[in-house]
Amino acid sequence: MLKFCLKRLAFLPLVMFGVTALLFACLQFLSPEMRASLYIKDPRQLSQLEAVIEKHGLRKPVYVQYGLWLKQVAQGELGYSETAKMPVAQAVRAFFPATFELTLIAFIPIMLVGVYFGVLSAVYKDKLVDHISRFVAITGYSLPSFVLGLLLLMVFYGKLHWFPPGRYALETDMLVHADTFRHFTGLLTLDCLLNGQWTAFVDVAKHMVLPAATLLYISVALLLRITRSSMLEELSKDYVRTARAKGLPERVIIRKHALANALIPVVTLSSLLFIGLLGGVVITETVFDFPGIGRWGVQAAQQLDIPGVLGSTLLAAFLFVMANLVSDLLYAVVDPRIRVGN
């Protein structure tokens, strides 16, 4: 297994190189004036366009710019992101933990609810629970996340004043930026607990409830439907019929036999879902004013912040490779027929 993992990880630099080379190739289609738009935001600056192009070396051939960027990377620098107003590596460190934390908090309920209700829906096909599950799944899948997000904000913040938007309240803001507060993990909820700041923990958790609930509702639908269809397929197979004929209890048939086989597509989907969430959920982050990586990535792309785009793309490529590796390993866990490394 170790050999398998190392072999897969060895491809990582190659994937990253490919992604960045492709991005730089795309840059050939953008004129220096277009790329200077990152630095020219106001008509008052228009007369200085040429000076800006000169200053940032935007007239150099793309391969030269790629070479300079690679040289920077070799020196451990990823450039400066204009949209984040900080170096790219620092931006990743600043934005990613918030998204990671939100993903973790949302992903566990997504898995539990999606798989549980998917199985339930398949087992009780065309019964009330199936209808309700499917209705919830369809509404969750079709409801735009910004509509759901705003609705939740209106009810739970506007009316009830329970769950405010943002990352934390001003008091917590002051506290977590004080010299005495130690950032052990970068995950704010955990760090608040480790610092013994219970009130701050509650405040941070309160700020995460609505974005996590939105992610849960919009993401669970797909998982639920895949689990349901996969489970239905397994339940109609001969080995299940044989198990029933042998008199095995239905609970054992579902849990030990059918579910294990039905989980393979679920594992694939879960890993993709996890990457999707980690890559940032732009609309949810925007509606809830949550400082995650998705919002930064999109802003960087919109404003042609090339170092920012490269940074967020490298992160996405890394996550993609890692998630694929993990899902391959999980296949072996859920399906004994698959042996990793052989």
Partner: protein
Amino acid sequence: MMRSLLAALLVVGSVPSPAAALLAVKNPGVYTYLTISDADSLDPAYSYDTASHMIILNIYEPLFQFDKASTEKLIPLIATQVPSRENGGISPDGRTYTIQIRKGIKFHDGSEVTPEDVKWSIQRFILQDRAAGPSSLLMEPLLGYASTRGDDTKILPTVWADTQKAVSTQGDKLILRLPKPYAPILTILASWGPVLSKKWAVSKGDWDGTEATWKKYNNPAKETSPFFEKAMGSGPFKLDRWDRKTKEFILARHETYWRGPAKLKNVVIKGVNEFGTRKLMLQAGDADAIYADRPLLTQLQGLEGVKIIDDLPTVEMNPVVFFTYKINSTGNSFLGSGRMDGNGIPADFFADKDVRKAFAYSFDYAGFISDVMRGKGTQATGAIPKSLPGHNPKGKKYTLDKKKAEEHFRKAYGGKLWETGFKFTVAFNTGNLPRQTVCQILKRNIESINPKFKIDVRAVEWPTFLDSYKSSKLPIFVMGWNADYPDPHNFAFPLLHSQGDYPTTQKFKNPEFDRLVEEANGETNIAKRKVIYAKLQDLAHEEVPQLYIIDAVRYRTQREWVKGWFHNPIFPDSPYGSYFYSISKD
């Protein structure tokens, strides 16, 4: 569809809840402003965006300040008095300014502001001269040129000596020597070149004020400045923290501020892009003021505890329609066939005055104001906004008159245009609704005059727009201009002088315009300047290099408990952002 749904949701969310109705002053002593703007840098010599500039003018202090809402009357801050000919502060030839520096003003670290700090700050503002930065605003009046670098990007040999001559100290006085009289210099100094602590800056690795090192700090990378994310000024607030992750600035009261501490203990300026979220935070009392533009006004009216202050004047001219006199036809799809054959236009299409006049008579100015701006604002009469001296309210205006438009179209190109027709594309930058509407109004009206006239309207992203703009490929473009300082020259030059920002791209050059702009700028007598600007306005009406549409007004949305706010249209980000010193919550 989605926008309608969102609007409906926001209306539902606007119904006041019992909790909101009973809301007492929330977070007293802490003022929270939610914006969409993203500050660029806190270095006063680097930043040229309103979001940064608004914060800078709360942390740092310039020599003078506008007296509350006035855009003409100045009050002294770091200076002890505003120089004038009467008090001897301005020499009879208008070229030497002597400014006494106030004693006893403390920086946020407790050290005293000295004349050396003032001199160093202004020299640093000039010499840093980053590309597309604000340095030219002081360089032009003080050195007589707009950049420290030549066309070959090399530093000009005389810059250091010129700067030393222009900005110096004599005991407790700052001496400014101008190469020629420059009427707006004091209003520029009221907004730009505030005073920074030299000692603090040097300790952080910034320029030490010597000739040997200044070039190293010329045209720097933004993040290399110690003032990029930290500050050491003498203003009523000090920077507690700029959290670039959450797009949040936290300012704390300067307890030993020389005019007495501010009433607010903290100010929070936070970037929240989503309007729905900003609105809900305002309703909940977690925000005291928010940014919202004109189309969103109806969604804010009638909110419990929220006050709308409307009809606030601006110092801007936006939108403006610009005609390109000589269009770059190389690989230009905006021109159609590039010939006068009914399927395109020639490169000099708008060089014909009759075409420009026909376009001017084809625009529905009143309709734009009533429909797009919801009846707010008045039709502009020239390039100079009505909040500035030099604006002539009695100036001639164009109105929608299709008969006159037809007359001019028939006269254009000796009658050939009317027979062959034309086709071209007008572009606007995506997401700007007023500019989009301007293009659409022109298209609708002009196409209705003659079925052979065709105009395509195309939305393009800002990078593409910028590319086409810079290379003069846009036959018509719609842009605007916001003031750097409240003086008519700040509009007359960039809009009408052949070396101005827009005429350069328009390829528009008229010696009479240049002469009038320069003459007005050198004239320090207000009455005489007004006469020159009136002539300039008449000439612009006759020549029509541009269409001026509206003298816009804005509105502000704040909680009712906010007291002491005043509107000065020249203050950056006003009326949304503020000078927080006068504000309280009770």
